[in-house]
Amino acid sequence: MQIRDYIIRRLMILPFLIIGTSIIVFALTRIGGSPIGIYLSHEMSPAEVQEMKERFHLDKPVPIQYFYWIKGVAQGDLGWSGVASAPVIDVFPKKFAATMELAIAAGIVAVSLGIAMGTFAGARRNKFADHVIRIISVSGASMPLFWFSILLLIVFWVWLGWFPIGRSDPNLFEAIAHPTGFYTIDALLAGNWDAFKDAVWHLIMPAVALGYGATAIIARMMRSSLIEELQEDYIDAAKAKGLPKNVVLKKHARRNALVPTVTVIGLTFGFLLQGTVVAEIIFRWPGLGRWMAAAVLRGDQATIMTYVMFTSILFLIVNLIVDVVYANLDRRVELGD
């Protein structure tokens, strides 16, 4: 099957998968009880609670509640977030952009460092550099994210004062428009260099904390793949042809070693998104993860529904992208059969 046909087929199936997922997720959230609690205080009388239920249609049977929810979604109304004290649709794009910015920054850290370290170590198998990188990788993979985050926080925010927490200097943030929600991009679009520096400065600590674990995984995968590739006959043939060592490594061995590594990178994206919850809490990053954690703890089901649906859709899309990238890297892979 052609890649184009495969993509079209997957995209046609996507809406049904999303609706099916929404029914399951909605039912699951209601198993945990009515979501009315997030809108209440312990001083509300029963009559006031009833009024609140009517306001949010929570006095209706669950299927009718789902109807109201899906109708709202169709009209761009994802419900009211009790945690954020605002409509979910207003808050979600900002939180989404903040989390994606962090995840992408962490991904850049992880992929660039991971591939470089893996290549470096693989080409120097069992040498000193390999051992050093192994130690770095193993510690990165085994060190809990919250632990590493706290270390960074204490050293670089409290002791040295080099890096801030949060997402921005409020004055710089408020000084520019935010058409994309990505602070770095918005700062560049506004031509505000100070705001861009501020964005990057705030990104460094959480991105390094979050990306470190993924770096380790990618580096280990890259190293072992590269070692396997370097033992293949075609590598000997390339060397015999007189190709420089560097060319053999980068043009032949590394390219093929990237195939399994790209799969890992795809999976790593999920790891990064999961990790944002901890990183956002510790570094006070105002993203989806921190919002979601608060929503779960406080039973904010409108937020939970949105987040779960968002991650479901995201994973469906990422899986599709990984499949396509995989096929591009290795033409022997057949799609859809």
């Binding site: 009315i36 209440l40 205080s41 001083e43 609140m52 954020a84 706290i150 409290v158 004062g161 943030f173």
Partner: protein
């Protein structure tokens, strides 16, 4: 997640003691950075709940007719130029009519003048909207009519004379004055429906203007350069929702100027370089165990063995009060920051009688005697208490469990510590399907709301919790509470509350565990620090502060 945070907490506590910063270098000059606990729910005075995070902002950006001064319960002029009294003729002789002269020259943040019509509109608006989450009753329960006599004279007629009108209604955040023009241009007033614009924006006349509200991140307040009174010296930034450990670290590092904390962090802050710990004063939100005298048949958790009329017997309620280990709670979870005050009026509130009889020391012998007399000593009982998880309420419930179970191995207390939302929903049932709960009361500045809302047999909660089923003399208690609310003679009124406290000692409907102490921490470079528990938490008016 919780385990992660607990572990993170432990690690932080182990590490941050070695934190050292240059305490002389003022960070964030020109801006007061306050690290708060919660996100605000709304910024609309007509929608905000008492004690909720939105009141923190409303206090700074809106004015009221009168305000509490910096050092206690004394009232000072706000948008009204004078505090009304019978002597100055602004309260009628029958105590029914109050007149307020509105300050000329005061302007809203949108540039429009503050007039008596805005005041009338603000008060009428909250009553007309009558939102379930709001505090419309603060006005509608006491005010019969409002009138803008002229542009700068506002008059209120009460339903009946009230001793609490000025210091419970007029100073309430719900009675903040909003710009009529701004409201009418942005959704107007609709009965039963929140105004989304006002929930997320603020058009007041206070010393601060709302600059931005970045959800989950911060709220930015600019100095109102056109403020009629003393202008704020610093802009303000409220950092929202930082973990308690991060707040403590940020304070020690000088990144935060003031933080909200609780007694469990005092030991980590005390002695920190450049940090001042403020521990004076008491919160006005008594933490209590509530007894349910209106338990529906078959509703209790299956572990509970008590009959539905268990708490109808005052001896049982007294026995619980005698059995509780008050010291364990005060010196354990509260780390010694608080007071034994098993009174129904907090210390610091008019009418609190320090000489009234009280519980406050564990008396196991007395508790045993009462349980025996009530007929439960030999066979024992099992009863559940519901509370929010992972906070002082849960701690109080655990102390109750230890106290009661230590008294008699046949007694069993099941602590149901649940998420806040679950608790709120459970407590809002009528009737409540649990025999006991632990929570705190709303803070008030006057004794009447404490008594009418919580102890009156026909009051908001007394009715739901069936107090009329258990009071020995419900009519007398109701008569005293109602009478004290309209008694304008201060001494007579105080005597009535004193008598009420004696009656409630004999006939307790709560077990008051302690009155929690104030624990605030701020950088030494912050000057002008004043803290008044009568202001909404964190009980700071940012406009008084400088650095």
């Amino acid at each position: 997640m919780r385990n992660i945070l607990i572990l993170a907490h432990t690690i932080l506590l182990g590490l941050f003691l070695s934190v050292g910063v240059n305490s002389q270098t003022i960070k964030n000059p020109g801006v007061l950075v306050h690290a708060a606990d919660d996100e605000a729910t709304t910024l609309d005075p007509a929608q905000v709940e008492a004690g909720e995070g939105g009141e923190t902002v409303i206090l700074q950006v809106y004015d009221r007719l009168l305000e509490f001064g910096p050092s206690g319960p004394e009232l000072i002029p706000g948008l009204a130029t004078t505090v009304p009294s019978v002597d100055n003729g602004m309260i009628s002789d029958d105590g029914m009519t109050y007149t307020f002269e509105i300050r000329k020259g005061a302007v809203f943040h949108d540039g429009t003048d503050v007039t008596a019509e805005d005041v009338k509109f603000s008060w009428d608006r909250i009553v007309e909207m009558d939102l379930p989450e709001g505090q419309a009753g603060v006005i509608s329960d006491i005010v019969a009519e409002t009138q803008a006599v002229d542009d700068y004279t506002f008059q209120v007629t009460l339903l009946e004379p009230s001793a609490s009108f000025l210091n419970s209604t007029v100073v309430s955040m719900a009675a903040s004055i909003v710009s009529k023009d701004a409201v009418m241009a942005n959704g107007g007033v609709v009965e039963g429906e929140p105004n989304e614009y006002m929930a997320q924006n603020a058009v007041g006349s206070g010393p601060y203007k709302l600059k931005a509200w970045n959800r989950g991140e911060n709220i930015l307040l600019d100095i109102n350069e056109n403020y009629w009174g003393n202008k704020a010296k610093l802009a303000a930034r409220i950092e929202i929702g930082a973990e308690p450990d991060v707040r403590v670290l940020g304070l020690r590092a000088g990144n935060y100027d003031t933080i909200e904390t609780d007694p469990s962090f005092v030991a980590d802050i005390e002695g920190a370089d450049g940090v001042t710990l403020h521990t004076g004063g008491l919160l006005l939100e008594p933490i209590h165990v509530g007894f349910n005298l209106n338990i529906p048949e078959g509703a209790l958790p299956k572990e509970d063995t008590i009959p539905t009329d268990f708490f109808h017997d005052p001896r049982i309620r007294q026995a619980f009060n005698y059995a509780f280990d008050y010291e364990a709670f005060l010196y354990g979870p509260l780390a010694g920051f608080g007071e034994f005050n098993p009174h129904y009026l907090p210390i610091g509130i008019f009418g609190h009688d320090p000489d009234a009889p009280r519980y406050g020391a564990q008396d196991k012998a007395k508790a045993e005697e009462l349980f025996r007399a009530a007929g439960y000593w030999d066979n024992g009982f099992s009863v559940s208490v519901i509370t929010e998880e992972a906070n002082l309420f849960a701690d109080a419930a655990l102390v109750l469990k230890d106290s009661i179970e230590d008294l008699n191995p046949n007694f069993r207390i099941n602590v149901l510590a649940v998420a806040e939302a679950v608790f709120d929903e459970a407590h809002a049932q009528n009737p409540v399907e649990y025999a006991m709960w632990v929570k705190n009361a709303d803070p008030f500045a006057d004794p009447h709301p404490y008594m009418s809302a919580y102890q009156h047999p026909d009051g908001e909660w007394g009715e739901v919790h069936g107090f009329a089923n258990g009071y020995r003399n419900p009519e007398k208690i109701a008569e005293l509470i109602d009478g004290a609310s309209t008694e304008l003679d201060v001494e007579k009124r105080a005597a009535m509350y004193s008598e009420l406290q004696k009656m409630l000692f004999d006939d307790p409907m709560w077990l008051i565990t302690a009155q929690e102490g104030v624990t605030m921490a701020y950088r030494e470079w912050v000057t002008g620090f004043v803290h008044n528990p009568l202001w909404p938490r964190p009980s700071l008016r940012f406009s008084y502060l400088d650095k």
